[in-house]
Symmetry: C2
Subunit: 334 residues, 2 copies
């Protein structure tokens, strides 16, 4: 059968463009034993994928030139040669950016329930939600009454991280990039405070005013000047969960900033970079908490869904200009 | 009785000078109940004391203008009004920079044995040795065969940290500031490798060559460009024990450097600033290991002893130009 897929046509230097992606039509052969044929439903775009576009050593191997981009996706089984999955099953897995694909059934995870919308398994009940959970609970380890700052607060991870911090009894300040997001964070997601870093003239002074007791925990999705302004106000024994550095993903040269190690030392602070895969053995614990909080109404969630397979590059690039509130997904309508 | 003491005459901006210190003659009244009169034997000078010369909030309060500097010292009890200590006892404690002083007996720790030279209790068996122990064992948690880099490797802490890393089975690279120290580290203290950062043209390239498997642990006493060169070669899940930042203690303005958080994130690294006081409950564990390694000949130690109370400011300032190998102490001969 015929399918369309999106490949890495060229590696970006600095900010990627639509030209880095190429569309191809391909023929998919019939599934062999143990394989299933899949129809893509939702495809996830995530900031970490920018790293895979470059040819750099990392915890996950780079995309290959001329080969399809792959990432988190939800698909429906349309034909099965496996005992594990049957036609009509919905699955989540690492799939190519393609309208249809073929895969080994044992590489996929079946969605067993209709309690939550399918898209949740790419967001609050997927990698972003688990990332938020372990970053807050294991790295920040917040105590009741502490102050936590979240950068990239309206993104897929930040939105969940801030709410988990609230559930733990923290006073939470979200840093985000538009007035609309400030309102959403405060009015729909219960953040105690939120600011638009793009229009805040004295970011460091404002953080100091909003966090009069200092910053105990910082969940960093962004890096750059925002992080530098926050790190200036750490409390003794502060903890920083280093989850993302989106501000620097598209810089082609080494950026300079104030040296931070002296500040970290003087506060006996901890900075821990992590990826959710480090916590694989505890995924069930995380999922169980996230599901419970969702059902109890303590945790809210939202998605920015872009319609149409062809919009995948557009949606991905939109992550770097802050087009999304919550998880950015592309709905495949073919 | 009469004594001489050294007070903070003025707060330095940037590098301190001898003019920041003032000498005074004082009268010490007879000890009251619970107090002892002390004759200073050895006074410790330590890089962290630079922070206390500034009027900045920290884990330890600043020295007061016009009041004596205080720090680690070993003294002999010459008169006692306490049941805890008797005349002739040797003690270690936080004492003023003075030839004689008076203190509450319960603030002092008695030296019970002659197994080790008294000076060791300000070094390898004092705060520097314990700092090295917990930084390596608790923060770096090295595994057999890993590569550990130590900056400030010939200092009181670095010298011990490097040897503990060797005892744990690490391959150890020491970074230091003179060819003499390079030789000492390699030939007397068993460091696998050592380099003089002042004469190494391409520091980053040299570290890369000497650590072909990358850097798993970094024990940082120095900061600045040396740390930046090392952090460029971290392995996945690398651990950095942030113990000192002597390169920046005397800079009056905010220094700029390459942004390090993206590198830490991409390696899922951990940076943890600490002071030895965080480990108070485990001091006996640390001391017991350090004493055992000393007795077994696995751990070696050296001191740079400057003669004469008047030389205290000189000795302290010498820390910032690398005049010491191992612990810098002043012997009080009055």
């Amino acid at each position: 059968m015929k399918a369309r897929q999106i490949v890495l046509r060229s590696r970006p230097i600095g900010m990627p463009t639509e030209n880095n992606f190429g569309f191809e039509e391909i023929e998919i052969s019939a599934p062999k034993d143990g394989e299933v044929l899949l129809k893509s439903q939702y495809i996830s775009v995530d900031p970490y994928m920018r790293g895979r576009m470059s040819d750099e050593e990392s915890y996950i191997k780079p995309f290959e030139l001329g080969k399809p981009i792959d990432g988190g996706a939800i698909a429906t089984v349309i034909e099965s040669k496996s005992d594990i999955l049957k036609k009509g099953d919905r699955v989540v897995g690492m799939l190519p950016w393609a309208t249809y694909s073929k895969d080994k059934a044992d590489r996929l995870r079946k969605i067993h329930t209709d309690e939550f919308p399918d898209g949740y398994y790419l967001g609050v009940l997927g990698m972003p939600g688990l990332t938020a959970y372990f970053g807050v609970m294991d790295i920040c380890q917040p105590r009741y009454g502490e102050t936590m700052v979240i950068s990239g607060a309206a993104g897929a991870v930040g939105l969940v991280a801030g709410q988990i911090a609230r559930i733990q009894g923290c006073k939470v300040l979200g840093i985000t990039g538009s007035d609309e997001k400030v309102n959403v964070l405060k009015n729909e997601f219960g953040f105690d405070m939120a600011i638009n870093y793009k229009t805040t003239k004295d970011l460091s002074g404002t953080i100091s005013e909003l966090c009069p007791k200092g910053v105990d925990c910082y969940f960093d999705n962004v890096g750059g000047e925002v992080s530098e302004a926050i790190i200036a106000h750490l409390n003794y024994h502060a903890r920083i969960a280093l989850c993302g550095q989106i501000a620097s993903y598209n810089t082609a040269t080494q950026e300079m900033g104030p040296r931070l190690l002296p500040q970290i030392l003087s506060k006996s602070g901890t900075i821990k970079g992590f990826i959710v895969g480090d916590y694989q053995k505890r995924f069930l614990e995380g999922l169980s908490h996230l599901m419970t909080w969702l059902k109890e109404g303590k945790l809210h969630y939202t998605e920015t869904i872009i319609d149409g397979f062809d919009k995948l590059p557009y949606a991905f690039l939109g992550l770097f200009s802050g087009k999304n509130i919550g998880k950015m997904l592309v709905k495949v309508n073919e």
